[in-house]
Amino acid sequence: MKRLNKLLCLLLISLLPAAGFSKDGVKHAFTPQESVRSVEITFIENYGDITILGTEGAQIEIVAEDYQEPDDENEENGYSSVFSGGRDNTGIGLSIEEDKDSVKIMGLPNIDSSDYTIHIPNRYSLKVNNIGYGDSIIQNFKGEIEVAVAEGDAVIKDITGPATLHNMNGDLVVHFSEVSQDAPTSITNLNGDTVVSIPEDTQANLQMKSLNSDIRTNLNIDYDTPNLDRHTFNIGQRTVTGKLNGGGVLISLEAINGDIVLKKGGDNPNYSRSSSDFPKPPKPPKPLKNKSKKHSPDGALEVEEVEEVEEFN
């Protein structure tokens, strides 16, 4: 019965003319202060894809692909939509705050969320938290990068790190143009597969751990002898450590249910989401407002896509 209701709801809403006013490719651009060193991007309940591209310029530029303004009939009377997390000060569903050190870009929860493409000077350090439902594509960054994704796939390419990357339910495809020796790189994944490519001549100490799945590599790793000290506890059976080209910065890859693939990186392999590494299941349509549960990177309960919708199509 509940499912029937959902289906009826979907039918009803799909028949309605699009609410609000749709803006195609609306741009918001600004130049941060000179002292800014980092950019923090957070999307909590966005259904669109987020693309973040590093540029050589000084400007931050955001394009909302198909942004639907919330229905604001009462705006003339002094009312405006409120969101948890901030005020829309861009006109495209984002709240942007800037202080001396950093710029914070926050996607405001909106059911008709847009896809966003964000251009950012690539010398900034970048922190991305996407606990929405879309994919995250991040490309061309030369500084420290920290990414946590909850639902979608994350494709992160042409980065140098140090990188701290985490995905909960999606795949994680990472391509390093080089691996920074400044600080460790750490990549973790709960349910998705993890494919990491690094230059063949990278010097690194590797730590790879997978609880319920495989680890594969085509790199020439000098494996450590397993520690058989009976005082040592090992979580999971597959913990592999070793050195690459004599050792160097720590690279740690840990997964629970997905595979780990560590491979030689080409100059710039073109990872698309139809990448041959993993066949990509069809993308579910945007769900309706009724949602059930899922977990965010921090485990707090949130909402889950309504699977029944798929059957309807």
Partner: protein, 277 residues
């Protein structure tokens, strides 16, 4: 002036190499900010330690003991001798001695110089000096001091804004053989409170190395109900099973019963409970 900037300038202030206006500003801030005062104090303790190490260095007695120790090793002791003889075949004794002194001097030079050159990169460049079983007391004392400095450094660095740098600080404990209470506290804070799951996982791995100690075991048991990320929950459940830690049964049971627990965690919890009977 921001705490971050003050913190960056503290070592220079200690060295008296700070520009007067800046130094004044930093001092003024120190007068007002308790956190920075605390950091200043910690820096003081660290410097005192470095100075203590310095006193040991130019001691001819130490040198003499080194030679006699080498002689001893050469002329008999079973395991040690076997190892030393093997080396003697490849390289003349002179080089061996030179290398001992060299590595010792290099270690000390790095110890003193490295800190000033860049305290953040200090330990990654330092080769720990190897010590034979028969090593004399001075050397052990020195080793102990290096170890305690590493501990302090890890504690000192573990609270940084960058997640990678925090992981780096956590990974320094790989080279430490004993956990000081301060270090345990710092690792625990990362394990239970860090907002980045990779940092939390790194400190879990670091603490797992000491899980044969009862105090560490107890805090790990205590950590499971505090974790909200499924990766951490699953790793901890597996560790509890590996350690055959029956005290964790209660919190595993709770995870199993809670509606908020994701399915993949419940699976592990169910398996875990079965094994912890």
């Amino acid at each position: 002036m921001k705490c971050k900037k003050v913190s960056r300038n503290l070592p220079s202030l200690w060295e008296n190499s700070l520009e007067t206006t800046l130094a004044e500003e930093v001092r003024r801030h120190l007068g007002q900010c308790e956190n920075c005062q605390e950091e200043w104090k910690q820096l003081g303790t660290l410097m005192a330690d470095i100075e203590a190490v310095e006193e040991v260095q130019p001691d001819p007695r130490l040198r003499k003991n080194f030679f006699s120790m080498l002689e001893e090793a050469k002329s008999g002791q079973r395991e040690a001798a076997a190892r030393h003889e093997e080396r003697t075949l490849v390289e003349p004794v002179f080089w061996k001695q030179a290398r001992w002194i060299g590595s010792m001097a290099a270690g000390l030079a790095l110890l003193l110089g490295g800190f000033w050159m860049g305290r953040l990169q200090f330990f990654s460049h330092m080769e720990p000096t190897t010590v034979d079983k028969g090593a004399n007391q001075e050397l052990e004392a020195l080793q102990g001091q290096i170890e305690s400095m590493k501990q302090m450094m890890a504690v000192y660095m573990m609270d940084q804004r960058s997640a990678s740098k925090r992981i780096q600080a956590v990974s320094y404990t790989d080279e430490i053989s004993e956990l000081s209470p301060d270090l345990l506290k710092a690792l625990l804070e990362r394990l239970n409170q860090d907002d980045n799951v990779n940092v939390r996982l790194a400190s879990l791995n670091a603490l797992t190395r000491f899980a044969h100690q009862e105090n560490v075991r107890a805090v790990l048991v205590d950590s499971l109900p505090r974790q909200t990320n499924p990766v951490m929950q699953i790793m901890l459940i597996n560790l509890m099973v590996e350690m055959d830690e029956k005290r964790a049964r209660g919190s595993i049971q709770e995870l199993l019963e809670s509606a908020a627990t994701p399915l993949e965690v419940k699976n592990e919890a169910l398996q875990g409970l079965g094994q912890l009977l």
